[in-house]
Symmetry: D2
Subunit: 256 residues, 4 copies
């Protein structure tokens, strides 16, 4: 059964910036979905900020195995209740791939527990992405490194938690480095942050970038939902797995 | 120079539950501060939910090296702006020790990026806390295990991120296990979650519990503030560390 | 294409201990292979200590995707050159599942970089294995916990490195806890340690144990070989990816 | 009480390579010890490969809190029994700082469980070391980055285990990146790998490099010895912490 992938696009720069519109005539979300669709086991659809509930209705999320997120100009326009809804699905087990400037999206900062800051420069410089973890599924089929002729620079320190694993590290022409591929799990949901993808450059027309995103989607997919992680149930003394006799003082009104 | 420790107490059950009031006549915060003060290098003070800004004014936080948090009944009463203020200090480098039911505090959930759920039972059962990482500074001077005759049970899965290190694991009489000592860093701030401490039992009168909390405070202390992590500055092309000539398309209005 | 799984059995207690022989008439390796074969995507074969090269010839290892290891009485009889050969295949990307007393095998200690010590008791007590990481692929399809009526106790501290992820934690009737499912990667090879499996008890007749082992084998499988990790090549100045002019002093004879 | 630091130097190139001899007239070990001694809380001494037991007698190791290791040309000359002796002290809690080409030392490979390979180039190129984890004790007092005008290049993939934390990442002029500061624990012993230090360049005359090494030594220091991790004791049924009645089959001769 194919993996149901929802690509979320902010779709703002495509409408108001000529360079971006020319670069991505079918929208960044459209182009990212096209890359994903090259794997017949992945079934991508797209939604955007402008859709009802930003396209992230309860039903759509219930039918999403992996969500891919690109945003930049309008992070603040994403409604808090939708962010909460997405977070709950991640905690249940939905995969989440956060691309480039999505590091400052509400959903990524919420799941990281940090501001996810960095320093940056838009100068079209060369980025060389090194595979530091060649045995990781997300690095499958990749060369030792790949290059993007023009990219925005993101420099360390990237204020995110120590990841489960670091997969990629970028070298920038202007002298910086950046951890460009990082894995996390929050609740049952797998999360991958992938750095490249500035809107004025043709990053999502790059074949290797496409392969990374497809690998990441396949890696993040979780066949099971773990909705029990959304609750903190009481396991009363009479249902304890070992025989137990209650003792000691009890709260008059237990708050949980 | 002593480490400035602020103990935050919810101070609700001490006022409205007889068992708790008798157990902790100087308040739970008062008793926790007393344990901390046994190390002359630690200088504890206490604040509570009922204080102005819950005691966590800008000035107080600026003068706090490590914050210790106990809450249970009134997590929802902690104002969001104060939670944000505490989170910013953690990201800058303030240490944070979260005790027991504090796992459901707004600040802990915000920093973990998860719901921090678990399953639980208030039956006064025996808890045995095993040191699984005896070389960790927080385990310094501890025996192979220590016991609490009466504790609330917290059972796995504990929906928190994979920690940097696991220091303690608890065995419960009723048949459950729990990762009882977990370390994290968010921004520059060290975080330690320590499980024991149900308000109706004399946990914070236990000498070994005191030693753990003192060890944790000393470990979490960070001499430097890293306020730069609160920003995402531009490093323009003319200040690049390597000579760089700008090229490629640029956004008309860069959002960051 | 099915995953080629080699089950390595020590095959000593099956020959000289009546309880073990009765428990595992087809050998422990035979029974473990039988469990693995319940997944049609896994193709298990067995080899034992007594075979030429302990069954781990260059050819056999070259045709092994995942190696499963059970040993206890004769760790010292495994020849060092074979251990080295297995380690090299792991570094290249072969998966390795180490079961129970295999924690003291030469190959596991070599790959962990520690003595992998613990404390233990053979009393047929009850073990309850809790899933602490329900979103991990190795926990797929498992209940919240599962029990083994009789098992050898292994108690913390287990002197292994902090794992990539902790999947299971065991509760023992006699009062101990143990991290029973731990993931590692060494070079490109995925490693999973799974605690249960004392030879006098019917552990490898348990359906849930079988499911865990099958999940672990599938998780550990790595489609690619990364033999380049076996070398430390020179990348001379004329092949540097960025133009570079050599400068500074050089060693007369570079040792690497 | 000062921390007792032993600096181990291979002392081969200092004797047979003119560039190295001129660069380090008091030996590399002498110069490294000098850097360490700038902190009055650290008491460094030096030993070399040529000393009896390579200077690492049982007594010397018993009186060493943190061992600093530099070697390159003669890794193979270090006797296996001495490597084993050092490893045991690390497992007990002695800190270990491995510098530069020490990545290929027997002791580092033994403790990592990998070959610790990489690719390299001796061209005197510029290395810029970025702090990616500014809240870590080893980064205390450091700027955002520091540069070494001439260094040997080490490039990823560095085949070491995923570290507990990544502290530094290097940018190289020739286009590579490298994880230059990595923390591990093996048994109770803290380990830090720090990349810079090619013998033909003046790296150990650099003030920031000195600060990193001093920070690393202070971080690695462990006040307690955990010699119990060197054993795997039996905890028989009559000494179980919970009352237990033995049941089930037992091995006639338990091998452990």
């Amino acid at each position: 059964m194919p993996i149901r992938v929802t690509v979320w696009g902010e779709n703002v720069h495509e409408q108001n910036d000529k360079a971006v519109a020319e670069n991505y005539p079918i929208g960044m979300h459209g182009q990212i979905a096209k890359l994903i669709g090259e794997d017949s086991n992945l079934r991508p659809t797209t939604v955007t900020l402008q859709d009802v509930d930003h396209g992230l209705t309860v039903e759509k999320l219930a039918n999403t195995d992996v969500l891919v997120w690109w945003g930049h100009a309008a992070h603040g326009d994403v409604r808090d209740e939708i962010v909460k809804r997405v977070a709950q699905r991640v905690w249940e087990g939905m995969g989440l791939i956060v691309l480039h400037s999505g590091h400052h999206s509400k959903i990524f900062k919420r799941l990281m527990g940090t501001l996810a800051n960095l320093h940056w420069r838009e100068a079209g410089e060369r980025e060389r992405i090194w595979v530091v973890n060649p045995g990781h599924p997300i690095a499958k089929g990749l060369p030792a490194y790949f290059e993007l002729k023009n990219e925005e620079m993101y420099g360390e320190p990237f204020s995110v938690p120590e990841p489960i694993e670091t997969v990629f590290i970028s070298w920038f022409q202007g002298g910086e480095v950046f951890r460009s591929g990082l894995t996390y799990r929050r609740g049952a949901g797998n999360i991958f942050y992938f750095r490249p993808g500035h809107e004025t450059y043709p990053t999502y027309h790059d074949a290797t970038v496409g392969k990374v995103i497809r690998n990441a989607v396949s890696w993040a997919y979780n066949a099971e939902s773990q909705s029990r992680l959304l609750n903190s149930p009481n396991t009363p003394v009479e249902r304890a797995v070992e025989p137990l006799i209650e003792r000691g003082a009890k709260l008059a009104h237990h708050p949980e």
